[in-house]
């Protein structure tokens, strides 16, 4: 497989997807840096509340507006940013509010929604609303056309797929306007719907209480004028995701569980007919396959060089441990490549120091943008 630079050639959008803890944020940032270095105007978006992206880009904080990263920061790392690098942290609530303001027919309708208690809950907490807002912001930025490439660090949901489903789930939810008629159980609609519906409603009312039901009814009422607008927009967001100029990169770790999740995720992308670009495996223990020598031989060879038996024994034992991990990683990656029917997987080695600053980012960047041969050569320099 080609390096990231080739995969993203001619793309408008790169979406990094994967489960939590696999280094998605760092990978997204490194990709953005690399593409900006190639002369593009790039913006990287994250919705991670932990401010990791800001940290790794040397920014004190990120807001709901894109901010340009000082290119001089990268000079010291030997990277020349020929284009521009921008970053922003998505505020899901603020984005949702903006969207409501845009879709509302008038100020009164807008305020009724913004002031509704159910809305205040869903805009923060409803499963999928953060993800939906990430897509929404992506769409908005893409429509504005200010950037050559947008890199999205998807939210760290435990289930990496939530965001694919988010637009559909949210519009379904908002479509609840049809429920308004049932909120008046004595009305004509209830009679048409039959006894079942009114019993269901009364039981639900008994469980959650009248207040909550009234709030829900009010919410659907307030939203009713905006449903068509929301739906139309969600449709456009979906077609943007499926556009050939969009590219999904799956990010994972080399252990069994993250690899399983990457396989599952890839399958979902294919099912949804979304453009899969490649897979990046972080923190790989690079094997020294050709070096899998006899343990005892190695120990005595080490002892000869080090002149110390005890140290040689520990170094040999340590090497055996590393090799076992490297072999596991190689097995898992082989399985991943087979499942994804891709000849190559971009492997980023497990670095000695954990990656959280510019120099770490630069090092990851080197691997992502190197050709396969170059990458192997760099990695051979480390265990």
């Amino acid at each position: 497989m080609a390096a990231v630079g080739e995969i993203l050639d001619g793309k408008d959008i790169c979406i990094c997807a994967g489960s939590g803890g696999v280094g998605k944020t760092t990978t997204s940032a490194a990709i953005a840096v690399g593409m900006a270095a190639r002369g593009l105007k790039v913006c990287v978006l994250t919705i991670d509340p932990a401010k990791r992206l800001a940290d790794s880009l040397g920014l004190k904080e990120l807001g709901n507006e894109a901010r340009q990263v000082d290119p001089e920061l990268f000079d010291a790392q030997g990277i020349e940013i020929k284009g521009e690098l921008w970053a922003m942290m998505l505020d899901a609530k603020a984005t949702f509010d903006e969207l409501v303001a845009r879709q509302a027919p008038d100020e009164e309708a807008r305020d009724r929604v913004l002031g509704n208690r159910i809305y205040q809950q869903i805009s923060n907490a409803l499963a999928g609303s953060q993800e939906y807002m990430a897509m929404e912001k992506l769409f908005e930025l893409h429509t504005e056309g200010r950037f050559d490439l947008l890199v999205l660090d998807t939210p760290p949901t435990r289930n990496a797929l939530d965001f694919l489903d988010a637009p559909r789930r949210l519009t379904q939810f908002i479509e609840g306007r049809s429920l308004r008629v049932f909120m008046r159980p004595t009305g004509l609609a209830a009679k048409v719907a039959g006894r079942g519906a009114s019993v269901a409603l009364s039981v639900f009312k008994r469980i959650v209480g009248f207040d909550l039901l009234a709030d829900l009814a009010e919410f659907f009422n307030a939203f009713s004028g905006m449903v068509d607008g929301f739906q139309a927009r969600a449709k456009r967001v979906n077609s943007l995701l499926a556009d050939p100029r969009t590219c999904f990169l799956v990010v994972c770790g080399p252990q069994g569980e993250p690899v399983d999740e990457a396989v599952y995720f890839h399958r979902k992308l294919v099912e949804a007919k979304l453009p899969f670009g490649g897979v990046i495996v972080n923190k790989v223990h690079y094997p020294a396959e050709q070096l899998r020598g006899d343990g005892e031989d190695l120990e005595s060879a080490l002892a000869e060089k080090l002149g110390e038996d005890d140290l040689a024994g520990r170094a040999a034992g340590n090497f055996a441990d590393y090799q076992a991990l490297a072999e596991r990683d190689a097995r898992n990656i082989e399985r991943l490549a087979k499942e994804l029917r891709t000849s190559g997987v971009i492997r980023v080695p497990y670095l000695d120091e954990d990656v959280h600053d510019l120099s770490g980012l630069t090092e990851i960047n080197r691997y992502l943008f190197a050709s396969n041969e170059e990458r192997e050569a760099i990695a051979a320099g480390r265990a």
């Binding site: 932990a50 159910i118 429920l179 039981v203 639900f204 209480g209 060089k305 265990a383």
Partner: protein, 303 residues
């Protein structure tokens, strides 16, 4: 740990499930009837036991140790059944599109019934058929961010539903979570920059915003200190002298190990400075896959 209910939380990918299972093994070995609950339908715990999916059942994994995967829809059914008693009525209810729609549309209801099921598991007098009595309930909780929201659900819900049965039930669940005598949280961290920052923030939020007792932080995946600084220097020299070959690779691996172990110790010290909770370390396991034996190794280290 003398708690009756323990939530295990932390950033994604830090080994929450393994630690939750190891805590369960430890308690079971001490003779406590223990159940480990998953709330995400991912069944990571049953995978550790190489067990086929447990689903919404209490399945015995080892002596004194059970596991359950709490599905919100199933929890909802069970809850409604306990509320309604009449099976026919419940069935009609679940066939009703309106009911399903409302249940799905009500923010936080899924999390609420999940916590409701956890509450039910902690009861000594269980109403569910064939329900066992447990001494300890361990929850493999959602990752940071979602985790805080999850534990706050009952309070949030009690505020939305101002009156009615669910209001008082939500309050009851909130009392369960904030009962510092019987309920606690264990945070799992990794010895790296960002996980340390997030764990410190998480500890603060759990204590201040949720009001739950944070009993312990587990620093997971700590590399052993295999080489002294002098030895590492010696090995580094050897690594640069040997180009290619097993000796050079082994020396480089040793230098790597030393660097990682050292930077991890610095992160451990940083975490200890930033939190009030006692931090306990768990070793990195040089195991290809985290299986039953790996969890048992960790369980022994938890003592």
């Amino acid at each position: 740990m003398d708690k009756r209910l323990v939530f295990v939380t932390g950033k994604g990918g830090v080994g929450k499930t393994t630690v939750a299972v190891a805590l369960g093994m430890r308690a079971a070995a001490e003779g406590k009837r223990t159940i480990v609950c998953e709330v995400s339908a991912q069944e990571n715990a049953s995978r550790i036991f190489e067990h086929t999916e447990v689903g919404f059942h209490e399945v015995e994994m080892a002596d004194n140790l059970w596991s359950i995967s709490i599905d919100p829809d199933e929890s909802m059914r069970e809850y409604v059944l306990l509320q309604l008693k009449v099976r026919a009525m419940r069935d009609m209810l679940f066939r009703s599109r309106i009911f399903n729609y409302l249940a799905a549309a009500t923010p936080g209801l899924k999390e609420l019934v999940t916590i409701g099921k956890i509450w039910e598991l902690t009861q000594t007098d269980r109403k569910v058929k064939r329900g066992r009595e447990y001494d300890l309930v361990i929850v493999d909780a959602p990752a940071t961010g979602h985790g805080i929201g999850f534990l706050q659900t009952p309070r949030t819900f009690a505020a939305i539903a101002r009156v009615g049965p669910i209001h008082s039930q939500a309050q009851q669940l909130d009392r369960l979570i904030t009962d510092q005598k019987h309920t606690g949280v264990a945070i799992v961290a990794l010895p790296e920059e960002m996980p340390v920052n997030e764990s410190a923030a998480l500890e603060h939020d759990l204590r201040e915003d949720v009001g739950v007792a944070v009993d312990r932080i587990y620093m997971n995946g700590l590399y052993p200190e295999r080489f002294s600084n002098e030895e590492a220097e010696q090995l580094a020299e050897l690594a640069s002298a040997e180009n290619g070959g097993a000796v050079g690779a082994a020396a480089r691996a040793a230098v790597s190990e030393h660097n990682r172990a050292r930077s991890q110790r610095a992160q451990l010290a940083r975490l200890r400075r930033r939190v009030e909770t006692p931090v306990k370390t768990l070793p990195f396991l040089f195991e290809p896959e985290l299986d039953v034996e790996a969890a048992q190794q960790l369980a022994r280290r938890l003592g």
